[in-house]
Symmetry: C2
Subunit: 717 residues, 2 copies
């Protein structure tokens, strides 16, 4: 046999190599190629001592085994008691021996129930690494955090980490319908295969739970806010129960959306009036029924009296009546009600940006303790950029939950690369001035500003049944980054990008450095080529894909892009200052003053708050028209630069993901030009001015752009 000329191809690309890498998300567990780091890891991880045998602890153990096998090529022996040294000891506080417990006493005092400790300790003169927490799920969080250290090739010689989540409800909102379509979903269809539940447990449910646990997400709302009452029938609750059973050992609670009219639709009642005794009773019984199946059921998310959804106002009641009635039903079981403040009415002629504040601010202090009001990050609707929502900082007696959108409804679906943690961070760092300078949105949301016990951040999921979960390989970073920021709303998005790139692709600095820069700048690129200088909601109608600043024929005025940009011969922008709708008055005086004054209003928010003359001089000396055109061009150029950066990554990563991202960036570049050309040609009709030097000629006519139709754009409705 020695005469055979066999050539080993180590990097042979087989059938599903791509599928597998894409599928593994940030848990690639790539081989540690730096031999001194690998040695350090092996020397410090001679055995693993696993304490406890709950499902959660078994998951933690399996995770360590998988990771060590893949990263180090072998698995330290698993033990159940401590003998040698340089062991990894994994277990909850109560499972630790007295000596270690004592050693960690003061550390345990500093973490909360979900926090963990990763620490190098010496017991009987033997050096060990301990991963622990107050319960098994906290231990699992510690294990994933430890593996992140390994994945990013950081030192483990001397560890001393205490980390607790700063928010209580860290939750994904799935806008998934029972027919498996996903409203605003761009990564295929719903993961939840209701047809095969409860008896068939898809491996993806487990992998989904695992991915979420790895970033500290502890809740999931399975169903769309535009809810179908059938989810609350026994036929479906049985299926929800099966999912809850899968998610439980990963520390993930299941929540559902409650359709306010469910008592009528599935309960045979004549009303859904929250003051009606039969209705109250129906919800109480429904809660009993649910908690009997799912003792740790999280509670309900409710969209009421918004965009056609039923709600308490149908019966002359208000949001407080509705929320508190549901709160009472789940109180005996520790459940919560997440009541959305995303409301605006076709019967309200007021600036849409003002309506949620106007309606909800007066309710401050009136909700029950287990109600949290869920507020979108901005006052309109998940735009590429919005000033922070004025409700943050305006309801000191009410817990407010942040609602971010991870799925890219208004940001290029799953074909545009945009790193959203940069957007989330901008919102969280915004200063409300509620209690003076430094009263950031993050402090409102994590409860430190008002000492709220109930806190949370929700993210509208970008997850579907695509092989790679999120449609775009880089959209995985938005899921990841959401989880990391929700755990710690003060985390810098650069750190998140760094962790994610290393865990997902490579630790090579020549890869990480330029690609991280590309990610960080990607969000501003999208703002530039879609909605620069405070423009907003000028996407095409319904599906929200591509530009549609000309759309003006929708039945409700506030659904039309023309409502938002108000371009005319004199200029462009929505006057929300005191000469206009006075929306600025909804902010604290310091902020109001800043936004209200054309001179002090940040240029990134300019056209959000002001109608500005085409000849207005921007800070860089350009007229508004020229500056706007140059911003659009800048966005296009930034995408071109992203392409250049990406082209140089080929040698660092697998060819499939390299090609995937390359194809997607090509689409993004094409569409950035589409945005630039369509918007500038349209606005040019009002400005009557030529394009400044440096802005490329349009590739098509305005009529061409207006003629484009996308009847089957995904995620629409």
């Amino acid at each position: 046999m020695t005469s055979l000329k066999f050539v080993f191809l180590f990097l042979l690309i087989s059938f599903s190599a791509s599928a597998q890498k894409d599928y593994k998300l940030w848990l690639q567990y790539n081989v540690v190629s730096n031999s001194s780091i690998a040695s350090e890891y092996k020397n410090n991880l001679k055995e693993i001592v696993v304490l406890g045998n709950s499902e959660t602890i078994k998951i933690a153990q399996k995770e360590l085994q998988t990771a060590f096998q893949d990263m180090l090529g072998a698995i330290p022996e698993i033990k159940s008691d401590i003998k040698g040294e340089n062991n990894l000891i994994v277990g909850s506080q109560s499972s630790l021996n007295a000596e270690i417990k004592k050693e960690l006493k003061s550390d345990f005092d500093k973490i909360n129930t979900e926090g963990f400790i990763i620490k190098t300790v010496f017991t009987k003169n033997k050096k060990q690494i301990v991963i622990t927490g107050k319960n098994d799920v906290a231990v699992l969080y510690g294990v994933f955090s430890f593996l992140r250290i390994l994945q990013t090739n950081k030192a483990i010689k001397n560890l001393d980490i205490l980390d607790s989540p700063k928010t209580r409800i860290r939750i994904l909102n799935h806008w998934d319908n029972l027919d498996r379509t996903v409203e605003r979903g761009y990564a295929g269809f719903s993961l939840w295969n209701w047809q095969k539940l409860p008896d068939f447990i898809d491996q993806r449910y487990i992998d989904y739970a695992r991915a979420n646990a790895s970033i500290g997400i502890n809740g999931t709302v399975l169903t769309n806010v535009n809810a179908n009452a059938l989810i609350l029938t026994p036929q479906y609750l049985e299926k929800v129960e099966a999912l809850a059973n899968v998610f439980r050992p990963y520390g993930i609670k299941v929540y559902l959306t409650a359709r306010f009219s469910a008592p009528i639709e599935i309960g045979n009642l004549k009303t859904a009036d929250p003051k009606d005794p039969e209705v109250i009773n129906w919800w109480k019984n429904k809660a009993v029924e649910i908690y009997k199946r799912i003792p740790d059921f999280g509670g309900f998310l409710v969209k009421a009296n918004s965009e056609g959804q039923p709600g308490p106002q149908n019966y002359g009641r208000d949001h407080v009546d509705g929320a508190n009635m549901l709160a009472d039903a789940v109180t005996p079981f520790g459940g919560v009600i997440m009541w959305r403040a995303f409301v605006y009415s076709e019967h309200d002629a007021n600036d849409r940006a003002k309506q949620a504040y106007s309606e909800f601010q007066p309710y401050d202090g009136k909700f029950k303790d287990n109600v949290i009001v869920q507020v979108k990050n901005g006052a309109i609707d998940f735009q590429p950029r919005e000033p922070f929502h004025p409700l943050f900082g305006a309801m000191p007696k009410t817990p407010l939950m942040m609602e971010f959108q991870i799925t890219q409804e208004y940001l290029g679906f799953s074909t545009h690369l945009v790193f959203l943690p940069k957007l989330f961070q901008e919102v969280l760092e915004s200063d409300t001035y509620e209690k003076g300078k430094g009263s950031t949105v993050a402090k409102v949301v994590d409860g430190t500003l008002h000492q709220n016990k109930l806190t949370g951040i929700a993210g509208v999921a970008n997850i579907g049944n695509d092989l790679n979960w999120t449609g775009h390989p880089f959209a995985q970073a938005n899921w990841y980054g959401f989880g990391r920021l929700v755990w710690n709303p003060y985390l810098d998005s650069e750190i998140i990008a760094d962790e994610w790139l290393r865990s997902t692709f490579s630790n090579d600095e020549n890869f990480v450095k330029p690609v991280k820069k590309m990610m960080i700048e990607s969000r501003e690129a999208v703002v530039n080529y879609m909605t620069p200088l405070g423009l907003h909601h000028i996407m095409d109608t319904g599906h929200h894909y591509g530009p549609g600043p000309w759309v003006s024929n929708l039945s409700r005025p506030e659904w039309n892009p023309t409502y938002y940009h108000k371009a005319d011969k004199n200029g462009i922008g929505f006057d929300r200052s005191k000469t206009g709708t006075n929306a600025t008055a909804q902010y604290m005086p310091e902020v109001e003053k800043l936004f209200d004054n054309l001179e002090t209003c940040p240029e990134k928010d300019l056209l959000w708050f002001h109608h500005v003359s085409w000849d207005y001089k921007l800070k860089n000396g350009q007229t508004l028209w020229n500056g706007l055109a140059l911003k659009y061009q800048e966005g296009v150029d930034q995408v071109k630069e992203m392409q250049n950066v990406w082209k140089k990554t080929e040698k660092y990563i697998d060819s499939e993901r390299f090609h995937e991202v390359g194809m997607l960036l090509e689409i993004q570049y094409k569409e950035a030009k589409w945005w630039r050309d369509a918007c500038l040609l349209y606005f040019q009709q009002f400005s009557g001015k030529g394009l400044p030097k440096g802005v490329e000629k349009p590739t098509q006519t305005l009529d061409y752009f207006k003629s484009l139709k996308f009847p089957f754009a995904p995620g629409n409705g």
Copy 2:
């Protein structure tokens, strides 16, 4: 480092192990564990000589490399000329050297343009294996066939294989809509991500093409027979072109469904009358436009004047007028028209089973040469069992294409394990007696009975974007088996099951033997627990999932199960004999006689052709009522036995697929009982008789079964 206690876990189950195995279909390329077989392979495959450098040949080379790496742990060196011996020589006829060409001269005379030769030859006293054919795609077929030999661990010492496909159009019909829902799709949603096409080429498109090429499928209809005309607009044709470019090197042609009214809907014409010069011209121009993009475009599949679809009859024309008009449009480019014979009308009071024959048989000989009439295997609609369609054997002057349904619309969706090649084989082996005994359906379809040049078999695909492609791991066998049978309609389904099991799971006889038996028997099990003794179309309405023999309120009589079983106090069954609708007269006299006579009619088709008294004595001595009840019980028992067989396979296969199939069999068992109980309780109302000994008591009441509703059952419409 030697002191470290590292334990290697070779079979560690990581994150995506299951996803990967499921995804790889029958191309697992498992390690050849038998060392003498592995040695034989290595000894006979010292180098690979690849001749040619077309895309197709590169694919063949990559396939061999992937397979050898995975099965033998190493890859023989790739050469471009023959030097040593015991080489594998891969290339088309024209690329072979003169000596080998001469050696294979008589073999080439025996294969058709898609056939291949796999042969051990001696040139210059050196032994080599040659894989060749008349073109590169034929070579690729040969390579996949060769790899099947290896995957099934068969000897390669002395090969002499000539194999040509017996049908020309071997095609999948995707009933995929432009919004990615799939009519009758139970494996997720459409693979075709129209939103991201043409610029994003999903790896799955490539993997799909590869899987199809491996079983000889050479065509795919991308869109639903209930067609949307937008697919014929430039916006979509650009996307179709991108898919055609991906599929071409794999020998797969793209076809589309043509909505007959497209000239009105997207052409701005006032009519779609096939005799109207403007309409004729519109289709001619459309063909020119399509072929400019896709020079090897296959042609159109048309569902016309059926179930509400538009067609020539809307203009007082007939199917021949419609088909021939379209045929003329694609003739200059070698395209074909597949015109479906699946028609029945609410204005026709005749037995639905008779209508397609009544309408189409008189057209025999009237279609243009490039029209093929596509006929479902039975006269109703893809039931668990139907007698063969009477059009087979009744249109000697017209090429007839078989339409099978691979997706399990009426056979338990993707939760029931049923091996459909057994069903397909039964149909193909049926004797039409058209030219005397032995005039089987297979001979009609492969053209040998009437010397048709245009031949084909279509299968309604069961493929979706589920990780494992088909929803049920064993549903992959139906895709595989369809391909194999279409290549050779005389192949025994046991051979297919054997090949598939070995390629997909294991060559261990202790696994293969019992599981093969289980597969072969699975189809009869489904017939028994759903529709024994010739019953048909008693599924619940719309979605067709689960039993609904009581349904009688649909607007069209022939949509109601009661129309089909006609149970009453006297008995049950549809009298299609000469005392009834005389549908039997549509068959040749020998067959007519057989079916028409209650005594000779096969009991498996009894209630299809006869209304039979409850007290009728079956061949086994039981009364019809008792026999029917016992058949239902037998079906349930067979599923129980399938579970028993499967439970013993754990040690032979990966745990994920073991558990997946286990969960699905549990669902199947539950639902087999549901079928038995619901049907027997319902029919018992008419028979007025008790259940015979051996039949288990119903688990619920009839009212309970009638109350079950599945508003979001997948694939519905």
